[in-house]
Symmetry: C2
Subunit: 238 residues, 2 copies
């Protein structure tokens, strides 16, 4: 198979670029426990993230129109707070807690790898996160994106094909000149259906110490990399 | 009047950040004359740009749905080529010439000023250019945007209020926490109608040596700056 030359390296963000779970647990135990949210924070983080796919499915299925992820996260937060018996938070507190997704920390290799990749390629988010979330995360964490793409620009959530297709179209590139880098096999499989090239990077503790999924590449992806610096090596970046 | 704290500094691009006219003339005389496009390049550049506002007005008025600026530029190019009697270009040549808008050069102060502003603020395009155009321009010219906003994200062309309003909304910021920096009085007046703060930076040769418009601030804008480094000074950036 002859591959087209890659012009853009696009990234899944939650789990692939940033460590959402430990970031939420850390802020929860450090900040929110002192404000009376005395819950099992690992369980709380997992429950909140557990509502992520079902909430997006309402958009993907066409049951509702597009709404940005901040809104879905907030709806899901209300449900998780109720489930954990937290009833005392003000609206301002809830808005502030909801923005923990804007404050997620990059994995240790993310910034150095992205900085190298940026010298040769357009580096873009291809995330279900909304623009504000991704910009705030980048400013805080130092992620050097060339452009923020994904659900809000594409008006559709991954793994719907339009999320990938519209992101490539926004760059005016054929999908074959775009590579998706992700820690999730299913994301890469969906991207390939519209013609993206693929790089798998395992993040074996994304879901905590007992993670049992996405520990390795399950398909014949163009690239399997140890981390973002290995990806930069394999893509010829100095 | 008490201003809100500024969180994002957004920029008009054509004329304010990049010198579209001299870039087109230079490429025309250097590259396209050798390919047989032996026209008066200053006149050609002005004619092409002259069709810019009328073409966007079809979208703003609702006569047509949103189409990205690359498409409008290409339609306008066909018209200008015909007007100047250029009939021999292939479709590939025309596509390549149309992308001169992706290759516009920054004004000399743009990169240093933006780099300083980026240390304190979200720096964003708020341009009628489409995403691909603005990303390619940034990669080539070294413009360090945090995020590409404007017509394609807002699905509306400036000076329609939705272009500004939807760009602020994409950042999840009240318009009053956004500042528009522009070399065009009319752009700033339109932005203020939805609540943006404003900085005027004169670009007295944008339209060539005989420019007669936008030579100075015509309204009581929050900031009038000599160039982007003066803007960074006035906004407290080291």
């Amino acid at each position: 198979m002859t591959s087209e030359p890659i012009r853009a390296v696009t990234f899944d963000v939650f789990g692939t670029v940033v460590d959402w779970r430990s970031s939420i647990i850390d802020e929860g135990e450090r900040v929110w426990r002192a404000k009376g949210v005395d819950v099992d924070w690992p369980a709380f983080a997992d429950a909140w993230r557990g509502l992520y796919q079902p909430s997006m499915e309402r958009v993907r299925s066409g049951a509702t129109g597009f709404v940005p992820l901040d809104v879905l996260h907030r709806q899901n937060l209300e449900e998780v707070l109720a489930r954990f018996g937290v009833t005392h938070l003000s609206d301002d507190d809830k808005a502030q807690l909801n923005r923990v997704w804007h404050r997620l920390r990059p994995w240790p290799d993310a910034i150095s790898g992205l900085t190298r990749l940026k010298t040769r390629y357009i580096i873009a988010t291809l995330s279900n996160g909304n623009i504000a979330l991704l910009v705030n995360m980048a400013k805080r964490g130092g992620l050097p994106w060339d452009v923020i793409l994904g659900a809000e620009v594409a008006r559709q959530y991954k793994p719907h094909p339009d999320a990938y297709r519209n992101s490539a179209a926004a760059l005016d590139l054929p999908p074959g000149q775009c590579l998706l880098a992700a820690a999730h096999n299913s994301d890469l499989v969906a991207a390939a259906k519209v013609g993206f090239q693929r790089a798998f990077i395992a993040r074996p503790t994304e879901h905590g110490p007992a993670q049992s999924t996405d520990l390795e590449a399950e398909h014949d992806f163009e690239i399997v990399a140890e981390d973002f610096n290995d990806l930069a090596d394999q893509l010829g970046c100095g």
